[in-house]
């Protein structure tokens, strides 16, 4: 096993996986929040645009989105952020991952809003809170707590989905794993369990943390 670590940059590849996961998590949180605001806004047009986005994106395979980032934006339109090809691929992978997971972040946030009973809004209004007061003091705090678990699940799914970035030539762990398996078929089980263990280590804490948080912050009704 030490041999593997010596000849392949396993930790570096996992580092890139983490970089992809963290950047895409931030990106998808930003885009997803905007879409979620559109989805819950009283303006019908924005609502429909948000719904359209979510329905299109979540019914498209992520692999297709990543491949489109490559073929459509990099190759065809020649859009590049830097001259460094490897870095440009990473940036486009992050963009693809962010736009894809934004749909799920939006649904997570929306489901959080939907855990708030109508009675809460009615009660807030009837004790004379203004719109912004009832939003900031009563509704949103409950909505965020209700969204912790689905957001955590989206983060876990996102971490695992960073592997698809290999389709755009990003040297993250699944690409390296493929390479290692091709050159060292004798160690195929070791390689698999090593990579699998890495993902367990990356995703398990998120699961435990969100479970803790959602139990601790659960709104008792």
């Amino acid at each position: 096993m030490g041999e593997l670590f010596a000849s392949y940059n396993i930790l570096g590849a996992f580092g890139l996986t983490i970089l992809l996961a963290v950047s895409s998590a931030i990106g998808s949180l930003l885009i997803g929040t905007v879409v979620a605001i559109m989805r819950v806004s009283p303006i019908d047009f924005l609502n429909k645009v948000g719904a359209f986005y979510v329905n299109i994106v979540r019914n498209t395979p992520l692999t297709l989105i990543i491949v489109f980032c490559n073929i459509g934006f990099i190759v065809n339109l020649g859009m590049s952020f830097t001259n460094d090809i490897a870095r440009n691929n990473i940036i486009w992978a992050i963009i693809g991952l962010s736009f894809y997971h934004a749909a799920f972040v939006c649904e997570a946030l929306r489901s959080g809003v939907n855990t708030v009973p109508v009675g809460q809004a009615e009660a807030a209004r009837s004790i004379g809170l203004t719109f912004s007061q009832s939003l900031s003091e009563v509704l949103l705090p409950q909505a965020f707590r209700g969204a912790i678990t689905p957001l955590g699940n989206t983060l876990i799914a996102l971490t695992k989905n960073t592997t698809v970035a290999t389709a755009i030539g990003v040297a993250e762990i699944s690409g390296l794993m493929k390479e290692m398996m091709e050159f060292r078929p004798d160690l195929i089980f070791v390689i698999f369990f090593l990579v699998a263990l890495g993902f367990v280590i990356l995703t398990l804490p998120v699961g435990i943390l969100t479970t803790r948080l959602s139990t601790k912050l659960a709104v008792k009704r």
């Binding site: 819950v40 489109f68 459509g72 009704r221």
Partner: protein, 315 residues
């Protein structure tokens, strides 16, 4: 739907909403126009790039065989994942601690490893050991990856489906003299499967989408066809868009079926497993919370247990 966030708008608010809607419509149109202009500049909107899709040749020789391969991989994975899920789902509900532990470890492991990693592993494993005829290796790799992951999800769904049933069901089964196994098989599982039907159908969308990962192990599914079409007609971008449209239509139909099933089950007054939750629903389902169930299948990667609920509660 009544929104908790907003009051009914008055005349002023309605006027404001109209203005915001008009401005945002303008922005959307501008963005679309800009994007189209970019693609037009590279000739992607030329008629010559799109007319091939109106010929039978492209459909009969490329798109339909690709779609067929996608559906074959999905169908095989669904069958195997169902079997896997049933075995390990029942394993997790077993009364023997050893079986329960083994099943828990297996299910949790396969849920936390990316599907693509399992596909690469299975593909290389089969290829090096010559398990299948060499042209079948990509299909076998795709099906193995999808089976292990989705089987684990189905097992988890099954467990939470049984967990969501009233305790009286088990007690009644035991009281009329059924064994624990019989109670599980003939009383609990049929009800659990009805309850999980909507969630199962949305899992089909996940499976269908994930077959596209086969592209990375050279499985000749629908997405892979864009390369052949692209080099044959030199229109890779239109080809990708058409393929995306095919995926979206099929998956949208399945998503709609899932929500229909959910509505119907709900109208009959039976509990469903919310698509958003493996494990019991986190809160009591207020009418307003119904849209919660529109939450997507990715949310299925749920890994929380409700407080105070352990496996020991169910036989």
């Amino acid at each position: 739907m009544t929104s908790v966030l907003f009051d009914h708008p008055g005349p002023k608010a309605r006027a404001r909403h109209r203005i915001i809607a008009a401005v945002s419509a303008l922005l959307v149109v501008l963005a679309l126009w800009w994007a189209l202009a970019q693609f037009k500049e590279k000739g992607n909107l030329d008629a010559a790039k799109w007319t091939p899709f109106l010929t039978a040749d492209l459909w009969v020789n490329y798109l339909l065989p690709g779609l067929q391969n996608t559906l074959i991989a999905a169908a095989l994975s669904i069958v195997f994942a169902g079997a896997f899920g049933l075995v390990f789902g029942m394993g997790r509900l077993s009364h023997v601690p050893a079986i329960r532990w083994v099943s828990t470890v297996v299910v949790e492991f396969f849920r936390s490893v990316p599907v693509l990693v399992m596909m690469f592993f299975a593909f290389n494993l089969y290829a090096h050991n010559g398990v299948f005829r060499s042209d079948l290796n990509p299909l076998a790799g795709v099906v193995t990856g999808l089976t292990l992951y989705n089987g684990a999800v189905v097992a988890e769904l099954l467990r939470s489906g049984v967990g969501s049933l009233p305790k009286g069901q088990t007690e009644a089964g035991l009281a009329i003299g059924l064994s624990r196994g019989q109670t599980l098989r003939s009383v609990l599982l049929p009800q659990a499967i009805t309850a999980m039907l909507p969630a199962l159908v949305s899992q089909l969308v996940v499976i269908l989408k994930d077959t596209a990962l086969g592209y990375l192990i050279t499985y000749q599914e629908l997405l892979n066809k864009f390369q052949q079409i692209g080099s044959y007609k030199s229109n890779p971008v239109p080809a990708l868009i058409v393929i995306a449209a095919i995926f979206i239509v099929i998956n949208y139909a399945l998503t709609s079926l899932a929500s229909y099933l959910e509505r119907r089950t709900r109208q009959r007054g039976r509990a469903t497993i919310p698509k958003g939750a493996i494990g019991p629903a986190p809160v009591d389902t207020q009418p307003i919370a119904r849209a919660l169930h529109d939450a997507d299948e990715e949310v299925l990667h749920e890994r929380y247990r409700a407080p105070g609920r352990t496996d020991d509660e169910h036989p």
